[in-house]
């Protein structure tokens, strides 16, 4: 058994320490956002933040996560009170099937937390590990630019 810190909450997790984080998030903590896409670290659908840095949850064993902070899309906001990046994706209608979107959003969130002024070229470059099959790329880019604006104008000034 280990304690996993997810979205600022400690969770007792009774899983084999070799278990990839993705299955613990989805099955034990019943969090939907991180998705199983390949299990190989090739598509980005499972991306979450560990201590603020994006990782592929599908290939990250929980044994590596003791004492670290895991953040999933659920930790940013809700449908009723969306974080800037979530609001931006709603306002740009930046989804078709939407399956790849949470992973993209977490990667973008990590980028904008460290580099709020990221250029279009920088945004495209960090998204390179992420696949979208519906072809929503243009809207995803627009949504991330909009999130930059929303973060800038957010009064609280916190990273969300």
């Amino acid at each position: 058994m280990m304690i996993l810190n997810v979205n600022d909450q400690p969770h007792d997790v009774e899983a084999d320490p070799r278990t990839p984080l993705l299955y613990v998030l989805r099955d034990d903590l019943k969090l939907n956002a991180a998705k199983f896409g390949c299990g190989l670290g090739q598509c980005g659908a499972c991306t979450v933040l560990v201590d603020g840095k994006p990782v592929f949850a599908c290939v990250t064993p929980i044994a590596l996560l003791a004492g670290k902070k895991v953040t999933t899309l659920e930790g940013l906001g809700t449908a009723e009170e969306p974080a800037p990046i979530q609001r931006a994706f709603m306002e740009e209608q930046a989804a078709q099937c939407g399956y790849c979107i949470p992973g993209m959003m977490m990667r973008a969130q990590a980028l904008l937390q460290t580099n709020p002024q990221a250029s279009d070229a920088e945004i495209r470059k960090v998204l390179e590990p992420h696949l979208c099959r519906c072809g929503t790329h243009m809207r995803i880019l627009r949504a991330i630019h909009r999130a930059q604006e929303l973060m800038k104008t957010a009064r609280t000034g916190d990273a969300r």
């Binding site: 019943k30 190989l40 939407g98 399956y99 696949l131 072809g135 929503t136």
Partner: protein
């Protein structure tokens, strides 16, 4: 979506004690067919859309005594935004608030049977049915209000699901409704609102499914977690048709958490308490299994030659004799184009949840066709159809027949082996890549003759080779699991899809006016590789060929590609999308601003009967690597009356990007025995480095015109526009798909 799964009846779903629905309004098929004898009175005009098959109004629109309104569709949300668009239609024609409507999608116990959600037909079929059913229900309720108020119907108006009299009296739809009132068959014609008065249709209403999808809400079949759910994986053979000769299951059944190993013939699966336990058990089972392999797969460089020697069933698609090849006294051009097998490549591998309880089975699945897949699973399990219920739950985008139906069948078999436990079956990435039925490889030979002046085409000859483009279920034999059982079900004989929609021959008839034109379809029943429906079917390849070849002919005629197309077209709506795309792109003023850049244009009307779409684009070709990237694209689309213009734009944008990916990057590979493109490293697709700087879509709205399907309209034009732009940039014509950087580099010789 956690909690106890209740297998609820249709009655309970639709409103419990207060509901006024008395029976499931599906008329016997016989009645709907209208069997008028020859010479009899003219039969009434056919009912609109899917009302033809399901004519009772309360099959589509249900109003409870408390005023709750439920709209039912047999179509499924696939990420195309159909839930939003159908709700807009119902809200508009009912005069009800958009947010107040509940929409129920494909469920064999609840909704009409609308076959598959495929072929860009949801708006034409379900949208048209709901449009008319909603309008007719509103008229019926107005009539009832007129009776109760003692006021002529013309003096009544409707607003927010209520009928209002001139003196201000008001009756809600729930107060007006009764079972008998709406359990009536639809009339052929409806009093539709004038489009000028639309408040909800035609608006870019935000998609109802997006908030959950961007905040971690439950949105997909993968997110179902019924109490007591267990996890399953299957072990698939290493190659098509391989027989499981030996597996020692006992050690695997002793692994932690393993509940059961299920073997039936060559079907092999395992169920465990926890997901990672199921994964580890699957790996151990795969290592323990011995297979006898027999598959022989065609090498990529011999594929086209192989297709052309398979025994064909010939279909004459078009036979307009004309002057014959070479008779125009002008030049004749000929070319051969090829397309490889292409994967759907859903980002989420297929998944299903199944529960077997009290001799009844329920499967939650992202199938495109709950009814046909239900029939296949019932046949496979030798269960009566009414004991098997399929409920659609979203998966990741499918773009046609992917692994969804097979995963549903796998889950059903495993759940039957473990009654009373909901079983969640998840395919691996490698299984999805290896076992999904690919879009078929094709070959086309085309030749065209110009007139003496070398300005117009006078004769066109087009021959295509293709497997079927649909092996969708309906029977058990289409399901991998059923084919693998000890008592296997044989795959059904492949059949061509008849024109005008067509399969391999979809869009093979050019819309251009050529005096002579012939199209011959060599339908190939023998399938070296598992294939089925991929978005646009043959329409992708045929439009790629026709529109590439039109460019070759325009070059021969020394004509501008856009002018050349317009000169051969009569249809004003076709001309409109072409001129709109050209103008918005700045086609006439185009000039290369950098070496290695080129411009391409293409057009099609999907299936020659659905949406019109024209695309202009600019590409850049890296002369070092050979890699081509679309820099900019401008599309124009005419989809008839546009219900949700932003949803329509989203579909066309997506089609452009996906088709560009197929066209530049994708082909399924094998080593002669096994499929070898098993992940995103061995089957590369578009990544952000290949994404254009800008993509614009212009919607040409046609108020009052019928809905035209648009979900697949962009695939063909996008492919040809890219290929034409690459030809413009390099001076080389690429006729074999995909147009990879290796092929470009080899052709430009740098």
């Amino acid at each position: 979506m956690s909690g106890d799964i209740r297998i609820v009846s249709r009655r309970a779903v639709l409103g419990g004690s207060g509901a006024l629905i008395v029976s499931f309004g599906t008329a016997p098929r016989l009645l709907a067919q209208g069997a008028a004898a020859p010479g009899a009175q003219a039969s009434p005009p056919p009912l609109p859309g899917s009302l033809k098959q399901t004519p009772f109004l309360d099959s589509w629109i249900r109003i409870d005594a408390d005023g709750a309104i439920t709209v039912c569709t047999g179509k499924a949300e696939l990420g195309q935004g159909i839930k939003t668009a159908l709700t807009q239609i119902a809200a508009e024609q009912l005069d009800a608030d958009f947010a107040a409507l509940k929409l129920v999608t494909a469920d064999t116990a609840v909704t009409p049977d609308e076959g598959y959600t495929a072929g860009s037909q949801s708006m034409q079929e379900s949208g048209t049915a709901i449009l008319n059913a909603a309008a007719q229900v509103r008229q019926i309720l107005i009539g009832e209000a007129a009776r109760r108020f003692g006021v002529p119907t013309e003096q009544l108006k409707t607003q927010s699901a209520a009928v209002i009299a001139p003196d201000g009296r008001r009756l809600g739809y729930g107060e007006l409704v009764s079972a008998e009132l709406v359990h009536v068959q639809a009339a052929p014609r409806s009093f539709l609102k004038a489009p000028a008065n639309y408040k909800i249709m035609g608006q870019p209403v935000p998609r109802v499914d997006i908030p959950a999808k961007v905040t971690g809400g439950a949105a997909y079949v993968q997110d179902l977690r019924p109490d007591g759910m267990v996890h399953a994986r299957v072990v698939r053979p290493p190659s098509y048709g391989a027989a499981l000769t030996y597996v020692e299951a006992a050690p695997i059944e002793k692994m932690p958490g393993v509940l059961k190993v299920v073997r039936d013939g060559s079907f092999l699966g395992v169920v465990a308490e926890r997901e990672f336990q199921a994964i580890e058990a699957m790996r151990a089972l795969a290592a323990a299994a011995r297979w006898q392999e027999s598959a022989k797969l065609p090498a990529a460089d011999k594929l086209a030659a192989l297709l052309m020697v398979l025994r064909p069933d010939d279909i004459k698609v078009l036979d307009r004799p004309g002057p014959g090849p070479g008779a125009g006294n002008g030049k004749t051009l000929s070319a051969t184009y090829t397309r490889p097998y292409v994967a759907h490549g859903s980002i989420g591998p297929s998944c299903a949840v199944a529960l077997c309880r009290d001799d009844a089975l329920t499967v939650w699945t992202h199938t495109q066709g709950v009814y046909p897949d239900r029939d296949g699973i019932a046949e496979m399990l030798r269960m009566p159809k009414d004991k098997v219920r399929l409920i659609h739950a979203e998966g990741s985008g499918c773009y046609g027949h992917n692994g969804a139906d097979d995963a549903a069948a796998d889950a059903a078999l495993l759940a039957r082996a473990l009654p009373d436990r909901p079983v969640r079956l998840q395919w691996t990435r490698e299984q999805e890549h290896a076992w999904e039925p690919y879009g078929p490889a094709m070959v086309v030979k085309v030749s065209a003759a110009m007139d003496q002046a070398g300005e117009k085409i006078v004769d066109w000859d087009y021959v295509l080779w293709s497997n079927t483009h649909s092996m969708r279920p309906g029977g058990a034999g289409s399901l991998i699991a059923a084919q693998s059982l000890a008592q296997p079900f044989a795959p059904p004989p492949p059949r061509p899809i008849p024109m005008p929609a067509g399969g391999g021959d979809r869009n093979s008839i050019p819309l251009y006016k050529f005096p002579g034109a012939r199209v011959l379809h060599h339908f190939l029943p023998d399938m070296p590789v598992r294939v089925s429906a991929l978005r646009a079917l043959g329409g992708y390849m045929n439009v790629f060929v026709i529109e590439s070849f039109m460019d070759e002919l325009a070059r021969e005629a020394n004509a501008d590609p856009v002018e050349f197309r317009l000169k051969h077209l009569d249809d004003p709506r076709a001309k409109d999308v072409i001129t709109t795309a050209a103008q918005r792109f700045g086609w006439a003023a185009r000039k290369r601003d950098a070496a290695g850049r080129g411009y391409g244009f293409a057009f099609a009307r999907y299936k020659n009967l659905a949406a019109y779409c024209a695309i202009a684009c600019e590409v850049e070709v890296d002369r070092g690597s050979g890699g081509a990237r679309m820099v900019r694209a401008v599309a124009a689309v005419d989809s008839g009356q546009a219900v949700n213009p932003d949803g329509l734009k989203n579909q066309i944008e997506g089609a452009i990007m996906q088709s560009m990916s197929w066209t530049l990057f994708e082909s399924v590979t094998n080593d002669g025995k096994r499929i070898t493109s098993l992940d995103w490293a061995s089957y590369p697709i578009l990544r952000f480095s290949g994404v254009p700087d800008s993509v614009e879509v212009h919607v040409i709205d046609r108020p009052s015109q019928p809905f035209l399907g648009s979900g697949e309209a962009g695939q063909g034009p996008a492919a040809a526009a890219v290929a034409n732009a690459i030809a413009d940039a390099t001076g080389k014509r690429f006729r074999d798909l995909p147009i990879t950087r290796e092929r470009i580099k080899a052709a430009i010789g740098v």
